[in-house]
Amino acid sequence: MINLCAAVLLLLSFAMISQRRTVALVDLFTAQGVTLAVSTLVVALGTGQRHMYYSAALTFALKVIVLPVILRRLIRRLGVQWEAESRLDVTVTMIIGLLVVIFAFGLAEPISALATTVTRSTLGIALAVVLLSFLMMITRRKAVSQVIGFLAMENGLFFAAASATYGMPMLIEFGIALDVLVAVFVLGVFFFQIREQFDSLDLQHLESLKEK
């Protein structure tokens, strides 16, 4: 069951790096949140760790409800529903993505061997999700897509924590969730500032500061 969730998570990451449209990215991000919440719940049921229940609830509230709602509202108010990446070579990105996954598994191998949790085999996938999100941030030109990449990266990290150690202590998870939430708010403000200035959320405008 956990392995299934992990596989879905990885699939969703691949879907994200190949998805051009911004709105569809939010859907994928929501799906990732659902998968994450389900897998946390499954671990909680399997191990009886009390704080994992809270953790699953927190994940569901934040990543399935609050963040997607904020992102959708932002996209609507900014009027960028139909925006799509123009410069994105899906084939090349996919191939790099595959290499990234192999690398992640190699890196996670020695750590998984040391773990005692039932979920240890998924650590490689967690790391792969982190690195794929990283790849997504690099290849994107639209501000909203980059932020979704950033949030997906946090999903991967959360999954890594859950699979290696049954999650970080509750207080820390709350703190991290708070930081993520504040980050999205700050970015929301920021999007409006950028658009006011450039009439677009294309990051191509943000390339004038360079070392000459």
Partner: protein, 486 residues
């Protein structure tokens, strides 16, 4: 008690200024809160000097000789910067560069930024450390873009994204650290993230996991320190934000991030039993010094120039911590203090110079010493101090680092020496005509806030001539705490 005051005063300040930050008196309120924080930090320092290290609130916060000096330094520079920002931001407001609402944002976020840095310094919990440092980024992002110009928005975006990605790596490193420690310390409660607990059992931690964790922690927090090649946000964020923010970013935030790196290094070094973490720090350090020195030549913007100089100095400090050993650690701690004081003083002077000339382009700033002698001399003396000219303190710390490098890492000494030489030529060559050249433009229409500049430079001079014995003991204690492999 003192810890609570040190942490809660700036938080309270942020709250108060979130409502009243647009008032005419807000800059004074800001300075008053910073002063109160400084007093609390001073009391804390006095207590720690008298009673030794302490743990408070179920071991969640702790103070030892390493972090207490940074707390004192942070509170001090926080206060002087608030003093400097008083007239500076008023002028910006009168020039219409910032509105009343943005002044409120500025003042509130300034206090919040102070609070997050102090939390990051005082906490014993590696998880809270991460949260606080991320909060420090978030509180300053909107300050970097305060002027809402195209360039400042770009700088803030870069700052946010690069530091966000960096800090995500650090979170992974923290997870790995927790993973290794949880087996020994148990998963319930927060034992397995407490630095003091980890330090006590560092020999038993799984070396393989900690080695990997350190790579992520170093890359993650190293982004915030501005180590090359993770530095590209730094010159932009320093150049485009308001000058008081450049001063605290450069003088304080970089220090805090480096402090966390060193805390991690202590743990990992103990676990690995090898010099690998130190070597990694040395590698990043020397690369930063050399690259920064080369880029210094090409700068046209005065704030970018000094931002690159911060990268260079962070490189020197990182290199010194990487060498390890009592002398190098001592020198690195001293250099941290001196760089912080000097660089913020320079930014204060630069702020006034740029306000006078109406531009940050160095070619358009000329003859400061004729029209505003105090600003000119402040900038000149600050520049001389940061370049390591005796009798200023930076000379002493750089000299110590260089001589240690000659003994322990002979390969690095020529590189360091050459880089410091190039930096000297580059910065001095740019600043000299700005201070002494043919004057242009007009006089600064308002009295500059130069007391902080000269207080800082006076302290730097004093530390170059004479380090009081209690301060030396203090540094020695911290250096021993950081320790190193024999």
């Amino acid at each position: 008690m003192e810890v609570a005051a040190t942490l809660l005063l700036p938080l309270l300040g942020a709250l108060v200024l979130a409502f009243y930050g647009a008032r005419r008196a807000a800059p004074e309120v800001n300075a008053a809160f910073s002063l109160a924080t400084l007093i609390a930090a001073g009391a804390l320092t006095a207590r720690v000097i008298a009673d030794g290290p302490m743990l408070v609130w179920g071991e969640q916060f702790f103070v030892d000789s390493f972090n207490v000096f940074l707390v004192a330094l942070t509170a001090f520079v926080g206060f002087t910067t608030a003093l400097f920002s008083r007239p500076y931001m008023r002028v910006e407001r009168d020039h219409g560069r910032v509105t009343a609402r943005r002044m409120r944002l500025y003042h509130s976020m300034y206090q919040l930024f102070m609070a997050t840095m102090l939390v990051a310094l005082l906490t014993n919990n590696m998880g809270v450390m991460w949260i606080a440092l991320e909060a420090a980024t978030l509180s300053t992002v909107l300050l970097v873009s305060l002027y809402r110009t195209a360039a400042s928005l770009e700088a803030a975006w870069k700052y946010f994204i690069l530091c966000g990605v960096g800090i995500a790596q650090a979170l992974f490193g923290t997870i790995l650290l927790y993973f290794a420690a949880e087996k020994l310390l148990g998963a319930d409660g927060m034992q397995a993230l407490l630095w003091t607990r980890l330090d006590a059992i560092k020999m038993q931690l799984e070396p393989q996991v900690l080695g990997l964790a350190f790579v992520f922690l170093l890359v993650g927090y190293g982004t915030k320190v501005g180590l090359v090649p993770l530095h590209s946000w730094l010159p932009d964020a320093h150049a485009e934000g308001p000058t008081p923010i450049s001063a605290v970013l450069s003088g304080l935030l970089l220090n805090v991030a480096l402090y966390i790196v060193i805390r991690c290094k202590v743990l990992v070094e103990g676990s690995l039993g090898s010099a690998l973490p130190g070597q990694m720090l040395m590698g990043f350090g020397i690369l930063s010094v050399v690259i920064a020195a080369l880029f210094l030549y090409r700068q046209r913007d005065i704030k970018r120039l000094f931002a690159w100089s911060s990268i260079e100095h962070m490189g020197i400090i990182t290199f010194a911590f990487g060498m390890g050993g009592p002398v190098a650690n001592f020198a690195a701690l001293l250099h941290m203090t001196l760089h912080s004081l000097t660089k913020s003083a320079i930014f204060f002077a630069v702020g006034h110079a740029a306000q006078k000339a109406g531009t940050q382009m160095m070619d358009d700033i000329r003859g400061l010493v004729v029209q505003n002698p105090t600003v000119g001399w402040g900038l000149m003396l600050g520049t001389i101090a940061i370049l390591g000219v005796p009798p200023f303190g930076v000379f002493a710390s750089e000299f110590l680092i260089l001589t240690t490098a000659m003994q322990q890492q002979p390969w690095a000494a020529p590189l360091l020496l050459a880089a410091i030489g190039i930096a000297f030529a580059a910065i001095f060559g740019q600043v000299q005509p700005m201070v002494f050249g043919e004057p242009n433009g007009r006089r600064l229409p308002h009295p500059p806030a130069l007391i902080p500049v000269f207080v800082h430079l006076g302290l730097v001079l004093l530390l170059g001539l004479y380090i009081p014995p209690w301060l030396a003991d203090w540094y020695r204690g911290a250096a021993a705490l950081i320790g190193a492999l024999p």
